[in-house]
């Protein structure tokens, strides 16, 4: 069937419908982004009149390259992001595979596993802070009952980041789980049936049929988690405030502190540009590997 070229009216209609969304995008995304970029070249302190701002060129970017706390934050964030995304993807996929079958009680499990996602990050931070409290927290209380010395979950520089990772996995694995569950349930059953008739085991079905068929869903979930991980502020702020020392100082938290403790919005904007660059790079790498937008439908 030949595809005729759309008329001018059809084109205009299309743009007309996209218009409002585009306006929101410009106001909500492009304008703040442009302002941030602009700020990264300025020196302005909150509370002083806007016209006293100074143009400082690349000063903040130069400072960025030599600032040890920015690089410490950078490494801490990469470490955190790697472990969190890896474990959440594996755990989320596993849970989705196990609970997509109509086993008894699956509905209850599904509801229970989604609950952590519904809780506000500040509350998640508080819950885990109290659980991890070395002196009065539940974890050490029960560990004490089986004879284990209190662990300094949030106070030991080697353990604090692990505690943060645990809290994040608890909160966000459900996210991967729901997305993948939806993806798995959209797979046409005849393909899986056919493979079962051909003698494939559950493991073979999963690895060779199901997972490849939800590849674009997996990629989307991965991308969303990568972007989200670099925005984590509330949980770490409540749990450790970046401590002990700088062991849990995630980059987004560092930006917050530079902006509001040091009142240096220019430098904070420059560091956020660094954050943006990292996230964009990671997303591009993932998309190079497999781009859900460019592929034909998996089925």
């Amino acid at each position: 069937m030949a595809i005729r070229k759309s008329t001018l009216l059809e084109n205009l209609t299309a743009y007309g419908f996209m218009g409002p969304a585009l306006i929101v995008l410009v106001l909500g995304l492009v304008y703040p982004l442009a302002t941030t970029v602009h700020m990264a070249f300025l020196d302005w302190s909150m509370g002083t009149p806007w016209d006293t701002k100074e143009f400082v060129g690349l000063k903040w970017f130069e400072k960025l390259t030599t600032d040890p706390s920015v690089w410490k934050s950078f490494w801490v964030t990469l470490k955190f992001g790697f472990w969190v995304v890896l474990i959440e993807m594996i755990l989320g996929t596993f849970l989705a595979l196990v609970l997509e079958r109509p086993i008894r009680g699956a509905a209850i499990f599904r509801t229970a596993f989604i609950l952590p996602l519904m809780i506000s990050p500040v509350v998640v931070g508080l819950i885990w802070r109290y659980l991890f409290d070395a002196r009065a927290g539940m974890l050490n209380y029960y560990l004490g009952k089986i004879g284990i010395e209190p662990i300094l979950w949030l106070a030991d520089p080697d353990i604090a980041l692990i505690s943060l990772i645990i809290a994040d996995i608890w909160q966000w694995t459900p996210f991967i789980f729901i997305i993948l569950l939806a993806g798995l349930q959209a797979i046409p059953s005849d393909v899986v049936e056919a493979s079962r008739i051909d003698g494939a085991t559950w493991w073979q079905q999963t690895i060779m049929i199901k997972l490849p068929m939800i590849k674009s869903v997996l990629i989307v979930a991965l991308l969303m988690r990568i972007v989200d991980v670099y925005k984590v502020v509330e949980v770490v702020f409540i749990m450790t405030e970046g401590g002990p020392g700088l062991e849990t100082e995630l980059l987004a938290l560092h930006v917050y502190k530079v902006a509001f403790n040091s009142q240096n919005l220019g430098y904070a904007s420059a560091v956020s540009m660094l954050l943006l660059a990292i996230v964009t790079l990671l997303c591009l790498v993932v998309l190079k590997f497999s781009n859900p937008l460019k592929q034909k439908s998996d089925f």
């Binding site: 401590g243 020392g245 403790n261």
Partner: protein, 445 residues
């Protein structure tokens, strides 16, 4: 005609005139009745108590008050935004003492001298000399030596409200049990902490060593009595001076025998560890008695004694901090705001606040015999304030950054063993010098 009726009418008229003019002359609030002011202050216990007195203030003055309480860490951002506008919404702002220099340097506050120069506004019984000098200097004076101390070039910008110093609280039952006398020096405190940790299995001294602002306050609390400073007269940082390094090393010793997890304690966890019985000593903000006696939180009511902040080499030096209240320069109701501040900090109100469990700022309140009988820490407080250091923290405009981003992190790294004390403080010194250079502190050197 001089009839009785005329005489009575005349007398009544004369009385009426005298009474009306008489009352009008005696009402300092007349011009401001019906004004509405907005107050920005923290949502802490003392301020909640003060809020209960606001209806009384409104009844007396006709000025209605709307408060905007926020968590105290968030106040500064909100206040800076409001005070930076052409016309602001806040008429009274309450600041943490270490923001005062920044606020004044940016021209955001009205000098109180402007108000005190207006006889129509000043309460003749106010007696500003009765307000503890250390608190007044710490919370309200800006522009003197080093920018934050009292001196010929200093001006008054705020009146202290919920100010505090540091004091020792100890478990008298445990000290009696092991025949330990109340520590007067740091050496005695460390020895007692080690002993009680060993014999009772609880922490000795508790503290708030969480990385950032908490760790810095923890450090400064125990650095105060050394008499040392962090910046010299030329604003050069001396953070890595021997006394400071020694203090950090001493903190690590206290942490070893402290309650579990002390290195991640914020203020709340520190207080809880003491009042729930997991530490024998508390040496921090002087308002601890309130929580000790709150049975819903404390297990040690009646078992606590209060003493002076221990000395080092015979030197005393307790901390000063808390909050002060002043008037934003862009407020539309400056005089009404001043009347509010004056009323909240006058003798009668200070006494009422203290009776209701708030923090007093006046020597007369703290010396009041009834209150001293009711609150066993008051006699200690009065004596302690003689030794409170107004220069306990260098309250230069860059202090918030140095506090939370530099020293606070260095101290945490040193006591958790990531770096040695000397190394951490050396780095902190270098960072501070770089910061102050960037901000133009050495333009004249």
């Amino acid at each position: 005609m001089l009839t009785v009726r005329n005489l009575v009418t005349g007398a009544a008229l004369a009385c009426a005139i005298t009474l009306t003019t008489g009352t009008a002359l005696a009402d300092p609030y007349e011009k401001y009745r019906g004004t509405e002011i907005v107050v920005s202050w923290p949502s802490l216990a003392h301020f909640k108590i003060a809020e209960e007195l606001i209806p009384e203030f409104t009844a007396e003055t006709g000025i209605s008050v709307e408060t905007d309480p926020l968590q105290y860490g968030k106040l500064r951002d909100k206040q800076l935004l409001e005070m930076g506008k052409a016309v602001g919404d806040y008429d009274v702002v309450s600041w943490v003492v270490f923001w005062k220099t920044e606020y004044v340097q940016k021209g955001l506050l009205t000098p109180l001298s402007q108000m005190f120069a207006n006889p129509a506004l000043v309460d003749p019984n106010y007696d500003i000399g009765d307000i503890t000098p250390a608190y007044l200097e710490n919370g309200g004076m800006v522009g003197g030596p080093q920018g934050y101390l009292d001196g010929p070039s200093a001006g008054l910008y705020g009146i202290p409200f919920s100010a505090q110093t540091t004091m020792l609280a100890y478990r008298k039952d445990l000290l009696e049990k092991h025949s330990i006398s109340v520590p007067e020096t740091y050496d005695e405190l460390l020895a007692a902490s080690k002993l009680l940790n060993e014999k009772e299995g609880i922490g000795g001294l508790t503290g708030r060593a969480q990385s950032g602002h908490q760790a810095n306050d923890f450090f400064l609390t125990h650095y105060g009595p050394t008499g040392g400073s962090l910046i010299d007269d030329n604003y050069r940082p001396i953070i890595n001076n021997p006394k400071a390094v020694k203090t950090v090393e001493m903190l690590a010793e206290f942490v070893k025998v402290g309650p579990v997890g002390m290195t991640s304690y914020g203020y709340g966890e520190m207080v809880n560890s003491f009042v729930q019985g997991d530490a024998a000593f508390y040496l921090d903000a002087s308002k601890i008695r309130k929580t000790v006696e709150d049975e819903s939180k404390s297990r040690i009511k009646g078992k606590v004694g209060y003493a002076l902040h221990p000395t080092i080499d015979g030197n005393c030096g307790s901390g000063t901090g808390g909050f002060a209240m002043g008037i934003p320069a862009n407020s539309k109701n400056q005089e009404a705001a001043f009347l509010f501040i004056q009323w909240m900090t006058n003798k009668a109100t200070d006494m009422k606040l203290a009776e209701m469990g708030g923090d007093p700022i006046r020597t007369s309140t703290m010396n009041n015999a009834d209150l001293q009988a009711k609150y066993e820490d008051y006699p200690v407080l009065v004596k302690q304030l003689e030794c409170a250091r107004a220069d306990w923290r260098p309250l230069i405009p860059e202090y918030p950054e140095i506090d939370a981003q530099i020293i606070g992190i260095a101290v945490s790294e040193a006591i958790t063993g990531t770096k040695t004390a000397q190394q951490a403080m050396d780095e902190a010194n270098a960072k501070t010098e770089a910061l102050l250079t960037e901000k133009g502190y050495y333009a004249w050197q």
